[in-house]
């Protein structure tokens, strides 16, 4: 590692994008939050005031919104845990083809466009959707899941649970099988071995995964907006309302910064939890606690054990009498097994369900979007796409931006990654955080900051403005992905090349580049998908003439469901599956999910 020399050349391109598209807008936004706004007119009086913050933190109405956002995120996290943990166990235990398939199941929601997914959820959870139809059939009642809080919670879980699953399953995989065998060899049942050995060791992954899901749920925009029908207000939708409808810009900025603060706290907690999972051997902090404190804990544990042991003895002898009858034991095992399989099938169905629904509905013969579709099979909506030039324009625009993002993002991101991984210079960690910061900031905030900034510079709703927003996110993703693959790179290979007479550039092209290709490909795929599917920031930065495909879909869903949406969403789902297949062919899904 080269010390001292600051690799300015490598970092400058990436930093330019970040400064222009991220830091400057954010600073301006912060400045804005201290001014006085005028609801309805969008005018800003440049007089310093704390009014925005006091209003936000003092008014019960807004505090209720915080509480609601918090509650929804909490429910989503809990639900992710309940559904995600069995899924993580399944993933960790599977091998070969089954494992690849499970990875595909877990990754599909992440790669599918959020609007397409949410449409599927609306179909699934709607008042006349399959779930309600089933309830009506069995119980004679219907539940309003959308637009309503349960719908939002389910939607958020559906979207973010995969992150939880990946976090926990990677920790589970690192737990040695022989630990469970050792427990069983000492007389412990399979369940007890899991509860006393595997589960405690998996907790770092659970904590990290939960924090991540919570953070994402807290800052989510599209899902609560669509599944809340505009009626359920959370912090992000409040920002949208204040920015786009009420036009009270300083107030919007204040809300944004409170949200940002909360996010940063969560991110810090998450990063700490993450370092707990990366240590191979769990080193308990126990031996650092003072002796009397740990002694007290031990006494309490022993007392609790003694109380339950007596009960356990009686239960144990009861179970043993049962076990005398061999048949019952066998059938209990069978029931547990069938129950386990059913649960796992249901969870997988939960993750994937909305997607086939969208596709099925897209072939509907009628113009009413219902499930099951009426009117027979028809390709009319797909054919109709050709008559909707605005959709084709949006598609081409999204494609164009995505491709540019790939090219620019991969180059700047790789250069930045090289600079961050291979050079040591003062303030490196700060610079690294700067490069990755767009990932830690809720997309809504990036959106409003950019909207304001572009308006100031006269670049509103321009191609360049939209591209800038995408580039900020993309370069952060690529930097992270390529950094991850560079860290494991064996420098002695480059040294061998130099030793044999190769110059720096030749070595880079012939030795380094081919070897970091997997990381670059993963980065390129990310760049494309992140840009093509990007909805939240684009909602704020696009305007007539520069509407990207996801934004057009988003607007359509808000106004009323045009069946053409199902066709486009169907196509986007197919796109996601194709990308999945491509990734598996080139990289392998397991490797890819480790790089996210």
């Amino acid at each position: 590692m080269r010390k001292g020399r600051i690799p300015t050349v490598l970092m400058v391109p990436g930093l330019c994008i970040l400064v222009l598209g991220f830091f400057v807008p954010l600073i301006l936004l912060f400045q804005l939050s201290w001014y006085q706004g005028a609801p309805g007119s969008g005018l800003v009086t440049k007089a310093l005031t704390t009014g925005n913050y006091t209003r936000l933190l003092g008014d019960v109405y807004y505090l209720k919104i915080f509480a609601r956002t918090f509650r929804i995120a909490l429910y989503a996290t809990l639900l992710s845990f309940v559904l995600g943990y069995p899924m993580a166990i399944m993933l960790a235990r599977s091998k070969g083809k089954a494992k690849t398939l499970l990875f595909a199941v877990v990754l599909t929601p992440l790669l599918t466009n959020v609007v397409a997914r949410t449409l599927g959820l609306m179909l699934l959870l709607g008042r006349h959707g399959p779930i309600n139809n089933l309830l009506a059939l069995l119980g004679g009642f219907r539940v309003t899941l959308v637009p309503n809080v349960p719908g939002i919670v389910i939607g958020l879980t559906q979207v973010f649970m995969p992150y939880f699953v990946l976090s926990v399953s990677s920790v589970l995989q690192n737990i040695d099988d022989s630990l469970v065998e050792a427990a069983r060899s000492l007389g412990s049942s399979r369940f007890r071995a899991f509860w006393k050995v595997v589960f405690p060791l998996s907790l770092p992954g659970v904590v990290a995964g939960s924090l991540f899901v919570f953070l994402l749920s807290f800052s989510a925009f599209v899902t609560p907006r669509i599944l809340g029908g505009g009626k359920i207000m959370v912090m992000t939708t409040l920002i949208y309302q204040q920015a786009m409808l009420i036009l009270d810009w300083p107030f919007t900025a204040a809300i944004g910064f409170v949200l940002l603060l909360i996010s940063l706290v969560l991110v810090t907690m998450y990063t700490r939890a993450l370092s707990g999972t990366e240590r191979r051997k769990v080193v308990p902090q126990g031996h650092r606690r003072c002796a009397c404190w740990s002694r007290a804990i031990r006494l309490a544990q022993d007392w609790y054990y003694d109380r339950t042991a007596a009960v356990g003895q009686r239960w144990g002898s009861f179970v043993r009498r049962w076990e005398g009858m061999r048949l019952s034991l066998h059938s209990v095992g069978l029931v547990t097994r069938i129950g386990g399989w059913t649960l796992k099938a249901l969870i997988i169905a939960f993750i994937l369900a909305p997607l086939p629904m969208v596709i099925i509905c897209s072939f509907s013969g009628s113009s009413l979007i219902t499930f099951p579709p009426r009117g027979g099979f028809s390709m009319q909506w797909y054919a109709g796409l050709l008559n909707r030039p605005e959709y084709i324009r949006s598609f081409l625009l999204s494609l164009q931006i995505a491709l540019m993002c790939v090219v620019i993002g991969v180059s700047t991101g790789t250069l930045a990654a090289l600079g961050l991984v291979r050079y040591r210079f003062p303030g490196k960690e700060v610079v690294r955080s700067l490069f990755l910061s767009p990932l830690m900031v809720p997309a809504v905030i990036v959106g409003i900051a950019l909207l304001r900034f572009l308006a100031m510079m006269g670049w509103s709703a321009t191609f360049g403005g939209v591209l800038l927003g995408h580039m900020v996110l993309v370069s952060a993703y690529v930097t992270r992905t390529v950094s991850a693959s560079l860290v494991g790179f064996d420098r002695s290979l480059e040294e061998a090349a130099h030793d044999l007479g190769a110059g720096a550039i030749y070595t880079f092209c012939r030795v380094t580049l081919p070897l970091i290709k997997p990381g670059l490909i993963a980065g390129a795929v990310f760049a494309f998908l992140v840009s093509f599917d990007e909805t939240t920031v684009s909602v704020f930065t696009t305007g007539p003439g520069t509407i990207t495909l996801p934004v057009r879909l988003f607007s359509q869903l808000e106004y009323g469901v045009d069946p053409t949406i199902t066709a486009i969403s169907g196509l986007m789902i197919v796109l996601a599956v194709l990308v999945l297949l491509l990734i598996d062919r080139v990289l392998g899904l397991e490797k890819f999910s480790g790089m996210r």
């Binding site: 022989s178 630990l179 069983r184 060899s185 051997k281 031996h287 022993d302 003895q313």
Partner: protein, 356 residues
């Protein structure tokens, strides 16, 4: 008297891999039986079958008269000490050892007492509040052993107990393990590929090869009376002289491939093609002109010597063809050198005749 009986155990993995090919074995009460063999011979699979982690494709596992073949590991009265120790990293030494007792719901006071006793037995007192990561390899092994012993299993199972220790510790632990086993009086089965471990620790050795038990016996039996060339080769060092048995003047003679004749002691059971197995310590080096009186002498040239401090190995290239290894211990050493012409001599009644 047999604590563990294995009856015709067959284990097939997938469709083709016959890891265990009809094993019948009995382990006597209080003995330490060793399963010895090269990698892939099935010894670990057999151990895991006794523990209950592998279900045999055919055959029965009988413990104390009861058929345990279909009984899961948690309800067998066995305890397995894993090769990598498998100590629970989120628990202290005390909690690790207490684990099995807590499963049985023993009262805490009893648990504390018994754990202390066991810690004393393995020599780890005062370590009970340490975390597993703070222990050295040897200490971890002793905790793993204590954890298994404390549940008083009928059979103690050890999977390559010494292979993760450095050479010096290995020698120390060899005696320590054996002492503990003897003092507790527990029946034990251990698996190893190291014949030194087998010879020093086991009461009986079962040599395995390709899923079968080739020979079972006391260490001196297995060493001095191997029943086939594989065993003779695996245990100790052996020289193999190929040839055939023939009857000349109504006494049996062993004719080497090159035609030379040597006198052997034969019990008449082996006829035709055979192998004469001679251990290095059974061969003496004599001067080139010494003639045999009661024994055999084959002339040769010293090709290679290995000086090991307390002994020297000589590799002699016999005129008859093969290269044999001989050893000289202690003092005085004749100090033969490479290139010396010597005679390799041995009494007619030493050596073992085995089927080719």
């Amino acid at each position: 008297m047999a604590i563990v009986e294995l009856r015709s155990i067959v284990k097939v993995f997938g469709r083709k891999v016959r890891a265990l090919d009809g094993i019948t074995l009995a382990v006597r009460e209080g003995e330490m039986l060793c399963l010895l063999g090269p990698s892939g011979c099935g010894k670990t699979t057999l151990l895991r079958t006794v523990a209950g982690f592998e279900k045999p494709t055919a055959g029965h596992v009988v413990m104390n008269g009861k058929d345990m073949t279909n009984v899961p590991p948690e309800r067998r009265n066995t305890a397995l000490v894993f090769q990598n120790y498998a100590l629970f990293p989120h628990m202290t030494v005390f909690d690790n050892i207490a684990f099995g007792l807590k499963v049985k719901r023993w009262p805490i006071r009893e648990i504390r007492r018994v754990v202390q006793e066991t810690l004393q037995l393995v020599g780890m007192t005062s370590m009970e509040q340490r975390w597993v990561q703070q222990l050295s390899g040897g200490q971890q092994q002793r905790v793993a052993l204590a954890r298994a012993l404390v549940v008083s299993p009928a059979v103690l199972l050890l999977d390559e107990p010494l292979s993760n220790l450095d050479a010096k510790l290995r020698v120390e632990m060899r005696t320590h393990l054996k002492d503990i086993q003897r003092s507790v009086g527990i029946t034990a089965i251990f698996v190893t590929h190291d014949q030194v471990e087998a010879l020093t620790m086991a009461d009986r050795i079962a040599i395995m090869h390709q899923g079968q038990v080739i020979q079972v016996g006391f260490p001196h039996e297995v060493y001095n009376k191997p029943n086939c060339t594989f065993v003779a080769d695996f245990i100790g060092k052996s020289n193999f002289l190929h040839g055939r048995i023939d009857v000349v003047d109504r006494s049996e003679v062993f004719i080497l491939e090159c035609g030379e004749r040597v006198r052997v002691r034969s019990d008449g059971r082996i006829k035709g093609e055979a192998v004469l197995v001679l251990r290095p310590e059974q061969l003496n080096l004599v001067g080139p002109t010494v003639l045999p009186q009661e024994g055999n002498v084959l002339p040769g040239v010293i090709e290679h010597t290995e000086y090991l401090g307390e002994m020297v190995y000589y590799y002699v290239h016999l005129n008859a063809g093969p290269v044999v290894m001989t050893v000289e211990y202690g003092k005085p050493m004749r100090g033969w050198k490479n290139g010396d012409r010597v005679g390799v001599a041995w009494p007619a009644d030493t050596g073992m005749l085995l089927k080719a």
